[in-house]
Amino acid sequence: MRHPVLIAALTLTTLGFGTALADDDCEAPLADWQPRSAVQQLAQSKGWTVQRIKVDDGCYEIKGRDANGQRIEVKIHPATLAVVEMETEDDDDEEGEGGSSSGAPDPQGAAPATKNPLINGSGQPSGVVQ
């Protein structure tokens, strides 16, 4: 009688673990993880001031400020050190505005120049919501 209970418990545990893995933003084997010092170096190269580096959802997460002093929270892929997600202080203010107009491109992200091959160098793209 204990076996069915054990099996059920094991199944639930396994399913739950599987769900947790599926919810991770970053997927990388532990062997491929870069050291925390590499994340620190990445932050320095982008001009960020790091307050904390932790691991969340399978990613490194940096909390700190960008070169302009704006508060940031950045998820970094642990193997490639690519920026997976970046939130700024202003991000929270935007939602719930009902899509009010915004003409100027957002300089979010570190690099001002795009590597988008579609964009002609002579003209700055614009987007307006009305």
Partner: protein, 156 residues
């Protein structure tokens, strides 16, 4: 006089091809009155085989929601460098997003497609909302989306 003529010829030789290579294209995306939170909308270009070529505009700044623009996310592997300088506010219910961009002439009538993914918090994702060829004959002809987009058109 010869110097002026030479300078003029050089200017024409160098300048005219540049002018002929690109043109301003206006993309207009009107959303339905779906009644929910502002939508995240991304416009991007693929070739005829569906291979990602580049992003035109990202409407919505909070990167944690980009995973809901699933076709775009898959194509770019979430590379935020693709949208540096081309990101703006999300688009409210019933609102219209107008994007103006200088596009290479080589993209017109060459089998390239404009695609739109859209997503609204608590209302679901709509990858492949719009898929239309980028062609002179398709310009100015509104197309309905399959989810949140009431009409999409572009003007060359």
């Amino acid at each position: 006089m010869k110097k002026i003529a030479a300078a003029l010829a050089l200017t024409l030789a160098l300048g005219l091809p540049t002018l002929a290579e690109a043109r301003e294209v206006t993309f207009t995306t009107k959303l339905k009155q779906y009644g929910g939170s502002p939508a995240f909308v991304v416009l991007y270009v693929t070739d005829a085989n569906g291979q990602y070529q580049g992003t035109l505009w990202m409407a919505g700044r909070e990167t944690k929601y980009y995973r809901h623009l699933s076709d775009w996310k898959r194509a770019t592997r979430g590379d935020l460098g693709q949208i540096d300088g081309i990101t703006g506010a999300s688009v409210g219910s019933g609102k219209t997003l107008t994007v103006k961009i200088d596009l290479a002439d080589a993209l017109i009538d060459a089998g390239y497609q404009v695609r739109i993914d859209a997503a609204v918090e608590d209302m679901g994702d709509s990858p492949g909302e719009i898929v239309v060829p980028l062609s002179a004959s398709g310009a100015g002809k509104p197309v309905a989306g399959r989810g949140y987009v009431e009409s999409f058109s572009y003007a060359l």
